[in-house]
């Protein structure tokens, strides 16, 4: 988990940012009475994550983010939740909370 925590945090921040940059989502949130007006805390938190996250994971994360819109996905029942392909057992990490790369779509995988 320690290795992953900054990337997981960054991923969640990017999900919020995606909602903020999507005009339809913003309009819908406003109608629901849930507008987000102050962006500074998000920018600060994201900058802090970028400083502390491991370079190699950050590289793969941002690359997949640009390509697919999501750079990090969870693994559920050995299935990558990005490309939905079953991963070989040989690719399973020894410890929970580890990060690996999907050998099919190259997204960063989070093994919870």
């Amino acid at each position: 988990m320690n290795e992953a925590v900054d990337l997981l945090r960054l991923h969640d921040l990017d999900l919020i940012e995606a909602e903020l940059t999507d005009a339809r989502a913003r309009a819908r949130m406003k109608r629901l009475g849930l507008s987000m007006e102050r962006l500074a805390p998000l920018t600060r938190a994201r900058a802090a994550c970028l400083e502390t996250a491991e370079r190699r994971w950050l590289y793969h994360y941002e690359r997949s983010n640009q390509r697919y819109g999501r750079g990090l996905v969870a693994v559920r029942d050995r299935v990558c939740q990005g490309c939905h392909i079953t991963l070989p057992t040989s690719r399973m990490p020894n410890a929970a909370g580890a990060l690996t790369l999907c050998e099919f779509c190259c997204r960063v995988l989070y093994w919870a």
Binding site: E19, S35, V73
Partner: protein
Amino acid sequence: MPTMLDPSVLDTSLFVPDLRTRRKESVFQELVARAREAGAVREAELLVETLCLRERLGSTAIGKAVSVPHARSIAVIEPRMLVARSRRGIDWKAEDALPVQLVFLVITPGEFTIEAHLDWVARAVTCARLQKNRARLLDAATAEAGALVLREVTA
């Protein structure tokens, strides 16, 4: 990607009838811990952090003593809606300045699209905006009664 609301995944047992805390962060910790016990959350700490940050971007209090905090996060395994009640009320920086007595927490996995996530949020807001529903949730005598009301109003 699920875009339809599936009532079977609304765990109506996740009703907290009496919140003791008066701090937002503690409310999130308590509700997220419940969701974790129910198997819906894998990284409780991260989810609380995400909820707190979202709150700093804009209050999730929608008025009439209701707040709808929500998050789409990799820390979430299954979508859930949890409802908590505070008799004393919590200061949530609402526009109408009323202390929040009903908290509808909506959490969805990171794999959800924005639309699917907002469908869940909209369901909570729709439920909370009806005075009849709020009164029934505030008057529910036990957790079971609250859960039953929740099941009816979200069905």
